[in-house]
């Protein structure tokens, strides 16, 4: 590998690590085209490298966030199994379903989630009163927790709600992400904020924590089949590790409303891309 490609991989990984760690998404959306078009890897190798990168990103951001209390381990545990099961089921029935119909369905849901996410930032611009997505709670409940937000110095108390609905929806999210080739995070974060009523930072961190396991389940298959190109994957992962650490630091210091705004815009872009591919 020459110096140009080495730099490109490290920088690409660094950038994707920042985005992934900030928003709790894997980054496959950016990584797969980078490997496929930028490095000429075939699609399987590109997806394999991207999945290993997601594992690296998730582990680094989990390591950095876990002691701060900004992620809910219990919520992540409850949502992990349905999400993986959905993804496995999706990969089994791929090709047997009307993909365009699913894309239309995702587009409708995606736009409504993006609208909900962007509602508060727009209300602030218009000078209106903002209602919090999450329900402030004491810390006695099974899924209640708190953390100190460094962006404003306040202690944020929250309690995850609607767990009995979150489980089947997480199953569908895993299924959709597998069928449509979208990352899990882009579905998980709105699910955790809007259905489970958790703050955006908790949603992002919990999603990132959960993604590592889902990505690992996929990566080991590619690893066993010999699709992983070690030098490209490892250079990319080194960039990701550094980027994820920085992304976590940025997330913690950014005001929640700005995270909601950027995530809403990202979700709108992903949904638009889906609409254009119908």
């Amino acid at each position: 590998m020459d110096a140009y490609h080495l730099f490109l991989l490290l920088f690409g990984g660094f950038f994707i690590g920042i985005i992934g760690s900030m928003f709790g998404i894997g980054g496959g959306l950016f990584a797969v085209p980078l490997f496929h078009f930028g490095f000429g890897l075939d699609l399987h190798q590109s997806i394999a490298a991207s999945l290993v990168g997601i594992v690296a990103s998730s582990m680094m951001s989990a390591m950095a966030k876990v002691h701060l209390g900004v992620l809910s381990i219990r919520l992540s545990k409850v949502l992990e199994i349905p999400s993986i099961t959905g993804a496995i089921f999706g990969s089994l029935v791929i090709g047997a379903l009307p993909i365009n119909l699913l894309k239309i369905l995702f587009s409708v849901v995606g736009f409504s989630m993006a609208f909900n996410m962007l509602k508060n930032p727009f209300k602030i611009v218009l000078g209106k009163q903002v209602r919090k997505h999450y329900i402030p709670a004491d810390t006695k409940g099974e899924f209640a927790d708190h953390y100190r937000d460094p962006s404003n110095g306040k202690t944020v108390r929250f309690e995850a709600q609607n767990i009995k609905w979150a489980v089947p929806i997480s199953l569908s999210a895993g299924f959709l992400s597998s069928i449509l080739g979208i990352g899990g995070g882009i579905v998980n974060v709105p699910l955790i904020t809007q259905l489970c009523k958790c703050p955006i930072k908790v949603a992002s961190a919990t999603s990132g924590y959960k993604l590592g396991i889902t990505a690992c389940a996929g990566s080991v298959v590619y690893f066993a089949k010999g699709y992983i190109v070690p030098d490209v994957t490892l250079t990319f992962s080194l960039g990701i590790l550094a980027g994820s650490y920085l992304g976590m630091a940025i997330l913690l210091r950014t005001k929640p409303i700005l995270v909601e705004l950027f995530f809403g815009l990202l979700l709108t872009a992903v949904t638009l891309k889906m609409v254009l591919s119908i």
């Binding site: 594992v55 582990m59 390591m63 876990v66 209390g69 199994i81 490892l234 992962s237």
Partner: protein, 88 residues
């Protein structure tokens, strides 16, 4: 903050693992050959070691439900790896 001891253990395991993986990755980029697969294998072992740590820590805290979820996840990952190896 809940599950403080679980969080501490997970952080310690991941921090150690990331240092080892980074060192192995740099070694693989310099030395090449089999080191590449060793480094990728070590990276893919990180989530498994995180799950194992969760199993031990949750069991110590008496939260068997969460420990069981981690055990199921380890089995899911192990079985998908085994099936892929058999298909190869």
């Amino acid at each position: 903050m809940k599950d403080r001891s679980v969080r501490k253990s997970v952080k310690a395991v991941l921090a150690t693992g990331i240092v080892i993986v980074s060192a192995l990755s740099i070694a693989a980029l310099i030395l090449g050959g089999v080191w590449g697969n060793i480094a990728v294998g070590a990276l893919l072992l990180l989530p498994i070691s995180r799950l194992l740590t969760e199993v031990v820590a949750f069991t110590k805290e008496g939260k068997a439900r969460y420990a069981l979820i981690s055990v199921i996840l380890i089995l899911m990952i192990a079985s998908s790896f085994t099936f892929a190896l058999l298909q190869r």
